[in-house]
C-alpha cells in the first residue's frame, strides 16, 4: 500500500517563513521568543517558565498548559496555532524537532514543524517516519521501503518509537522519538504529533505531552467542523443562486412556447373556424389551447411556490384592509366570471407580514372559496378578523362543498387534489403556496369544514400595532 504523497513545506523560503512566524507569534501570544525556541534550555537547567510557581514537576507544567488552552481558544489557523503550541511544548520538554501531521481529506499532511539544526531532507525523513508511525498506530500495513518504527513503550494514547532517523546529533545522543496520536472521542486518529526530545523524557513529560496534544486534537476537530459548516452554507447559497437562475429561465423560456401554442390556436379559430376548420377541428384546437393554458398556470404556480422557499421575506406592517381590497381588485375578472360575492367585514387591522406573500396567500384562499362550490350555487364569501391579544386571526368563510376532516392536512401538500381537474380546474398548488407563505411569515394556517356545509379557512399573524 502506497501512501498518498504528502504536501511538504520543503523550500527554504518556507523554512524562513516558519521562523518569521514564530517571531510574530512570540510577542503576540505570549509564547517563547525565537531565541528561546532555537536554543531550548539544556538538560539540567530550569526551563525559563513559571519561575514564580512552586517547584513541583506537575505544577511547573500548569502554566504552559494554560498557555496552550489560551492559544487554542484564540484559534487562528491550523498552521499558526499549531506552531505556537509546539513552541510552548518546547519550553517544557526541550525538543530537537517536532512535526505535526494531520489527517485532512483522508490524507496525512504535514501541517507544521519545528526543528533545530535540521536540514530539509531530515525534516522530510522525519515526516516519512511520522507517517509510518501513524500507519502503525491505525493498523495500516507499512511500506517496506520506509523505516519501520519499533515500538518500545505504549500507553493508552502514547507510543515511544525508536527511530532509525539520523539527525545531526544522532551519534552523540540517541534521539528520543515520541509519537502522540491526535484522537477525538471515538474518531479514528485525526493526526499525529511526533516529537524528538533533546533529553530523556520522563513520565511527567509524557503526561504533559499527552494532555497538550489532546487539547490540540479537540481544537483542530472543532476548527474543521466549523470549516465544514462554512462550506455547507456556501454550498447552500450556491444552490439558491442556481435555483434562481433556473427559475428565471423557466419563467421566460419555458412559458414562451406555451404562449405561442395557446395564442396561435386562438388565432387559428378566429381566422379559419367555419371555413376550413369544421366542428371537430375547432374542438381539437380548443383543447390544444386549453392544454397550453393549463401548463402555463402550472409553471406560474410552481414558480410562485419555489420563490417562497428561495427568496428573502422581510416582515413589515401590512394593512389588511388595503391588501384585501387590492387582492379583490386583482381577482375582479375571476370573481365576476364565477358570480362570486366577497364581503369584507370591519374591522380589518394591520398585521406583521410580507405584503406580496400575504397577497398570494389571500388570493389563493379566496380563489379556492369561489371555486369549490356545488354546481349552480353562487359563491358567497365572508372575510372577517378576530383580534386576540398579540395576534390577528383572519377567517375566510365560504358556502362551498366543504372538506371531510380526513383530508384537512392533505390539502396543504403540493400537487394534492381532492377532485378531478374536469370538475374543479386548477394546479393543486394553491393551498401549498398559502401554507408555505404563512410559514415563511411566521404565521399559521388552518381550517374548519364540514362536507356540504362550506369551509372556514383561517390564517393567523402577529398584530401590526393598534
Amino acid at each position: 500500500v502506497r501512501l498518498p504523497r504528502i504536501r511538504r513545506r520543503s523550500d527554504p523560503k518556507a523554512v524562513e517563513e516558519q521562523v518569521k512566524r514564530i517571531e510574530e507569534i512570540a510577542p503576540k501570544q505570549g509564547v517563547p521568543s525565537k531565541e528561546e525556541l532555537s536554543d531550548p534550555p539544556q538538560a539540567g537547567t530550569e526551563p525559563p517558565v513559571n519561575q514564580g510557581m512552586p517547584g513541583s514537576e506537575s505544577s511547573r507544567r500548569l502554566q504552559p498548559l494554560y498557555e496552550i488552552s489560551k492559544l487554542l481558544v484564540a484559534f487562528e489557523s491550523v498552521e499558526h496555532t499549531g506552531l505556537a503550541v509546539l513552541a510552548v511544548i518546547n519550553q517544557v520538554v526541550p525538543l530537537r524537532s517536532a512535526i505535526l501531521l494531520e489527517k485532512r481529506d483522508g490524507r496525512l499532511q504535514l501541517i507544521v514543524w519545528h526543528a533545530q539544526r535540521l536540514e530539509r531532507k531530515d525534516i522530510d525523513r522525519a515526516t516519512n517516519h511520522a507517517i509510518s508511525s501513524y500507519r502503525y498506530l491505525v493498523g495500516a500495513p507499512l511500506s517496506s521501503t520506509e523505516a519501520e518504527p519499533e515500538v518500545i513503550e505504549a500507553g493508552t494514547h502514547l507510543f515511544h518509537v525508536k527511530s532509525h532517523l539520523p539527525t545531526g546529533e544522532a551519534e552523540e545522543s540517541p534521539s528520543r522519538f515520541i509519537v502522540v496520536p491526535l484522537v477525538v472521542g471515538r474518531e479514528p486518529i485525526v493526526g499525529v504529533l511526533q516529537v524528538e526530545g533533546r533529553d530523556p523524557v520522563n513520565e511527567t513529560d509524557l503526561t504533559f505531552l499527552n494532555t497538550s496534544v489532546n487539547q490540540l486534537a479537540l481544537a483542530l476537530d472543532r476548527h474543521y467542523v466549523h470549516l465544514k459548516e462554512i462550506a455547507l452554507r456556501e454550498h447552500a447559497e450556491e444552490m439558491v443562486n442556481e435555483l434562481n437562475a433556473f427559475s428565471y429561465t423557466v419563467a421566460h423560456d419555458l412559458r414562451a412556447p406555451l404562449r405561442a401554442m395557446s395564442t396561435f390556436s386562438q388565432v387559428l379559430m378566429e381566422d379559419f373556424a367555419g371555413k376550413v376548420l369544421d366542428e371537430t377541428g375547432q374542438h381539437y384546437v380548443r383543447r390544444l389551447a386549453e392544454a397550453a393554458r393549463r401548463m402555463d398556470n402550472f409553471v406560474l404556480d410552481l414558480l410562485d411556490y419555489t420563490r417562497l422557499t428561495r427568496t428573502e421575506i422581510p416582515i413589515e406592517r401590512v394593512d389588511l384592509r388595503v391588501t384585501l381590497s387590492e387582492v379583490l381588485k386583482g381577482m375582479a375578472r375571476e370573481l365576476v366570471q364565477r358570480k362570486a360575492l366577497v364581503t369584507l367585514e370591519e374591522p380589518l387591522p394591520a398585521v406583521l407580514g410580507h405584503r406580496r406573500t400575504l397577497d398570494q396567500v389571500l388570493t389563493n384562499l379566496i380563489s379556492n372559496g369561489a371555486k369549490f362550490v356545488a354546481s349552480g350555487v353562487a359563491p358567497r364569501l365572508r372575510v372577517r378578523a378576530e383580534l386576540h391579544d398579540e395576534r390577528v386571526k383572519l377567517w375566510i368563510e365560504d358556502n362551498g362543498i366543504g372538506i371531510a376532516e380526513q383530508h384537512w392536512a392533505r390539502i396543504f401538500g403540493v400537487f394534492e387534489r381532492l377532485h378531478k381537474e374536469t370538475e374543479y380546474p386548477g394546479t393543486g398548488i394553491g393551498l401549498a403556496i398559502a401554507r408555505k407563505g404563512m410559514e415563511r411569515m411566521g404565521g399559521r394556517i388552518g381550517l374548519e369544514s364540514k362536507v356540504g356545509k362550506g369551509s372556514r379557512f383561517w390564517i393567523e399573524l402577529p398584530r401590526g400595532g393598534p
Binding site: S247, Y248, A251, H252, D253, R255, A256, L258, R259, A260, S262, T263, F264, Q266, V267, A289, A292, R293, D296, N297, L300, L303, R307, T311, R356
Partner: protein, 147 residues
C-alpha cells in the same frame, strides 16, 4: 388625434411569435401597422434610438414616442436598455412599458426604480394580450410624447 401625432411605437422583442401576435393585437385595436417598429434585441434597440446604420433614415424609422420592452433579450438585457435610455440626454424621458414573461419581484423593483409606465406580464391567451394592447394604446393616445 391623427396617427401622425401619436408617433411611433418601438417594440423591443426577440421572440418572433410574440412579435407576430403583438402586431395582430395592434391591428385588432386599430393601431396602424405603420406605427409599429420592431427591434429584435437590446443592441438593435440602441442602434435604433441612436440612429445608427439603416436607422439613420428617420423617415422610415422615426424616433419612437413609446417603447414596449421585453426584459429577457439575447445580449443586452431589457434592464440594460432601460438604464441606457435613462442615462441618454435625448431619450431619458421616453415612456417605456415593460411586457415580459417574468414576474420576478427583482425585475419589477428594478424597472420601477428606472421609471416605467407599466409592467405587463405576458398573457398566455390572446384575449389577455388584447387587454394589454388596449391599455398600452389608451396610455399612448392620452400621453403624447415627442423626442
Amino acid at each position: 388625434m391623427s396617427p401622425n401625432e401619436v408617433g411611433t411605437l418601438l417594440l423591443v422583442e426577440d421572440n418572433l411569435d410574440d412579435i407576430l401576435l403583438f402586431r395582430r393585437a395592434c391591428e385588432k385595436e386599430c393601431i396602424a401597422s405603420g406605427l409599429v417598429r420592431v427591434a429584435e434585441d437590446g443592441e438593435e434597440a440602441l442602434s435604433y434610438l441612436e440612429g445608427r446604420d439603416r436607422y439613420a433614415d428617420r423617415v422610415q424609422y422615426p424616433l419612437p414616442s413609446l417603447m414596449v420592452l421585453d426584459l429577457k433579450l439575447p445580449g443586452k438585457s431589457g434592464v440594460e436598455v432601460l438604464v441606457w435610455i435613462r442615462n441618454d440626454s435625448r431619450c431619458k424621458d421616453l415612456p417605456v412599458i415593460v411586457l415580459t414573461s417574468s414576474n420576478e419581484p427583482g425585475d419589477l423593483t428594478r424597472t420601477r426604480e428606472l421609471g416605467i409606465v407599466a409592467y405587463h406580464l405576458k398573457s398566455v391567451d390572446f384575449e389577455g394580450l388584447i387587454e394589454i394592447v388596449k391599455s398600452i394604446n389608451s396610455y399612448w393616445k392620452t400621453h403624447p410624447y415627442r423626442l
